[in-house]
């Protein structure tokens, strides 16, 4: 356990602005980084001693009250160390963008497309950034908190009697 913590703290020390947070009752370790550091940190996580072979989840949280509106959340898993790690950073509300991890983990492809579709976060470096669930003509991003709950965008107009 000591050794594990050492690895994370040394990783955090190499990137200014990165911090290890351990919320004990909530389990998994958490690393908060700056958005620009995502790609180097992720590369280090995958190839370094952490050996995080899997990207379990990649998602986004919309907090409209905050100045840094979008919070990106990454869940990594290390098979060898039987360890899970959560990496977080915040993105501004206008033109949010995060580096694409498709070069490191293949399932980042669809996960990033989902976040792009649902939250409107761009992923420069993604090979095929299109909407994943909604149709191409869809306007807006449905999981943003300001998208109306009951708004519908039918492709074929509703029939009127």
């Amino acid at each position: 356990m000591e050794e594990k913590n050492d690895f994370l703290t040394s990783l955090a020390a190499r990137f200014p602005g990165a911090a290890v947070e351990k919320s004990a009752p909530l389990g998994d370790e958490m690393l908060v980084i700056r958005p620009d550091d995502l790609l180097p940190v992720a590369t280090e996580l995958k190839t370094g001693p952490g050996d995080f072979v899997s990207l379990l989840d990649l998602t986004c949280v919309d907090c409209p009250e905050k100045a840094e509106r979008f919070e990106m959340v990454y869940h990594f898993f290390s098979l060898r160390n039987k360890r899970r790690l959560r990496v977080k950073f915040s993105l501004p509300g206008s033109d949010p963008a995060a580096a694409s991890l498709t070069g490191l983990w293949k399932n980042a492809d669809w996960l990033e497309r989902e976040v792009y579709d649902m939250f409107g976060v761009a992923f420069p470096g993604h090979p095929d950034l299109r909407r994943l669930f909604m149709n191409d003509e869809f306007e807006g991003h449905p999981l943003r908190k300001d998208y109306p709950f009951r708004k519908r965008q039918p492709i074929i107009p509703m029939r009127t009697p």
């Binding site: 990207l55 293949k106 669930f133 999981l143 519908r152 039918p154």
Partner: protein, 414 residues
Amino acid sequence: MTTPFRIQRNARPESLLVNMGPSHPATHGAVRIMLELDGERILNAEVEVGYLHRAFEKTCENRTYFNLLIYTDRLNYVSPLINNHGYALAMERLLGIEVPERARLIRVLLCELSRVSDHLTCLAAMAMECGAFTVFLYNMKAREFLWDVIEQTTGARMTTSYIRIGGVRADVHPDFKMAAATGVRETRGVLKDVHGLLDKNKIFLGRTRDVGVMTPDNALNWGWTGPALRSTGVAYDVRRAFPYGDYDRFKFEIPVGERGDNFDRYMVRMREMEQSLRIIEQVVPLLERTSPKLLSDGLEPAAAVKAARVRRPETPVKLSPNLEGSDRTAQPEILSSDRRFVIPAKDETYTSNTSCPATGSARPKATFTPPSKEGTASSVTISSPTARTGHTGSTFALPACLSLPRSRSSSGVA
């Protein structure tokens, strides 16, 4: 009109592009697959999955933490209890709740029953796709025995909502032990039959052996988990690696495959069902020796909730839709003292005002004023251009699910 798909852009000039779906008899649900073919060989495929997107997240954002439990049933209707469990575990971790031992054991028991029924369904469909309809019927038969056990205790076959935050809803049925024993016995018999029907079946082997091979490295890189990952030879089981509930108390093996092909995925699931039945047999005798407590003591309810138990509160209850604590009023009609509100016109519910070109601006906007007892100006404006007069002016009590989210000024007028 639409941007071409990646598969269209990268297609080889001599190959054939075929569109499969979104409504194809071989797909269990609406999914569109675009295939690049060379004769009968699939060179490339691109899947479009959005047809079944149900926006669970958006729905749940607009519910309370307790209310959205029933939505977890619908995530996978074959094993709703496992989904209940996952959600309950997350909430318990956030709240720091300790679940009583008996509830933990009942959870393990019902989750393993669900796991077996889920694997049975999966393999039933797989065998049926390969032409083995008998296996499908056998598996469905075994599933019914297991669902009898689940129904007896939870009161429902599919939408159970039985595992609650902090415990389980009720104790197991008095006849549970006998029903579980029958279910386990019948399932064992079916598994034996299915092994006999498929394991050395030339047609089945021809369609599964060395088909869809995945290497362990690729599987991990793609984020695979569960039986699919284990079929590639990686002995990772979340019940063993990060034990939740009471899984660390039971003996079970982690079956793994060797080649990572379709046959290994079949075999891993078959072996895993045997292990699940083993766990069930270990839990049942333990259950008798536990204290009857089923639900943890829970937290002190908020002042608003307490007050609502005595009398209908005057001010709408504030709900916190996310963990950020950004309070906003959700569903003010539920507990508000104002019982009058208008069901929105159907068109308003299913379409938006802006994106319906066929009906746009054809009709005037309608303003409805519900009758007000005290003569106060309590008007509800529904700005749908297509609102029909049949819906106008009438006042209804609940259901709140049909009510239109509206501004604070128009609600809560006593």
